[in-house]
Amino acid sequence: MKALVIFIIASTAVVSSSVYAQKDLTPIKIAYAARPWITS
């Protein structure tokens, strides 16, 4: 049962991802500081 649930969730994620990829997407660029996560 647990495996089935995981499979369904995983399948849904794949479908959702491909749906998003088919949209017209607007490109954006995001700069981020490594500092808060890595060096501080």
Partner: protein, 279 residues
């Protein structure tokens, strides 16, 4: 949050194709946004405030963590905050987020910051080494460094996120021109960030995997500690904290006369998040 949004397709969900550009520090992120190399920045609130008072037309559009997401670490023989008076406090540099956190933590614990000596020791691994070797006595580090702190036999004196006073250390920002001319795009960006916060709060395993990939930290205990630490801190909606910005202004004004008397409202624009909330 941008790593979560990127890895989980949340930018695409909101009509965006995002390119993430990693930079060394908050100043470089501001420069990237100013030069047009990037549309949005995720970085330090302190650097953003200093940019605004320097005449750069940038604004905070979301506040990610309104607390000090750091740990106060000391040598083991230091048993209480009062013992820090007269001691050497390791910081990354004499400007920027780490020394601000160091000063605020001392203040909050009843130790006047002027009673300690701040010494530059570089990035967290070097600061931890400075304490372990006995050359310095205290420092602040992010929770990702917890495993290294324990391995070095050092002590976590205080989880600084427990100090209730807000401080807007980490934020998202953009040029005000972008807010004016690309408002729907900016709102889509913030919608993706809100989706990422929801994901982070509810999907622990996947979020830890993203943090591992994004930071390069492999220690699972450190990653779990980081997740738990940050989970309680991300606000939803992620409005910039007025009080948190004021705290930063007060701290920055100690060293930077340009910041003295600065007005909080000049540093943020929460109207986009408000529009998303009432949509």
């Amino acid at each position: 949050m941008i790593a979560i949004a990127d890895s989980q397709g949340l930018f695409e969900k909101n009509g965006l194709k995002a390119e993430l550009i990693g930079m060394r520090g908050g100043v470089q992120v501001i420069q990237g946004v100013l030069s047009g190399s990037a549309d949005f920045g995720q970085g330090g609130g302190a650097e953003t405030i200093q940019a605004v008072v320097s005449g750069i037309d940038v604004a905070l559009i979301a506040g990610l963590i309104p607390r000090m997401h750091y740990l106060l670490v000391t040598r083991p023989e230091i048993s209480q905050p009062a013992d820090l008076a007269g001691k050497k406090f390791a910081v990354a540099s004499l400007v920027g987020t780490v020394i601000i956190v160091a000063r605020r933590s001392l203040d909050a614990l009843g130790v006047p910051p002027g009673r300690v000596t701040f010494l530059v020791a570089g990035p967290p691994q070097d600061r931890i080494l400075a304490l372990a070797s006995g050359n310095m006595d205290a420092t602040v580090v992010a929770p990702e460094s917890l495993a290294a702190v324990k391995k070095s036999g050092l002590k976590v004196m205080k989880d600084l996120s427990e100090i209730p006073e807000p401080i807007q250390l980490t934020a998202l920002f953009t040029m005000r021109k972008t807010i004016r001319e690309k408002r729907p795009l900016t709102k889509s960006f913030l919608a993706a960030i809100q989706d990422a916060i929801v994901f982070y709060r509810t999907r622990e395993k996947e979020s830890i995997e993203v943090i591992e990939k994004f930071t390069g930290v492999k220690d699972q205990d450190a990653l779990k500690a980081s997740y738990d630490f940050h989970k309680k801190l991300f606000p939803l909606p992620p409005y910039p904290s007025r009080e948190g910005i004021q705290t930063l202004i007060n701290q920055l004004a100690i060293d930077d006369p340009k910041v003295k008397g600065a007005v909080v409202n000049n540093f943020f624009d929460s109207s986009l998040l408000e529009e998303l909330r009432t949509k």
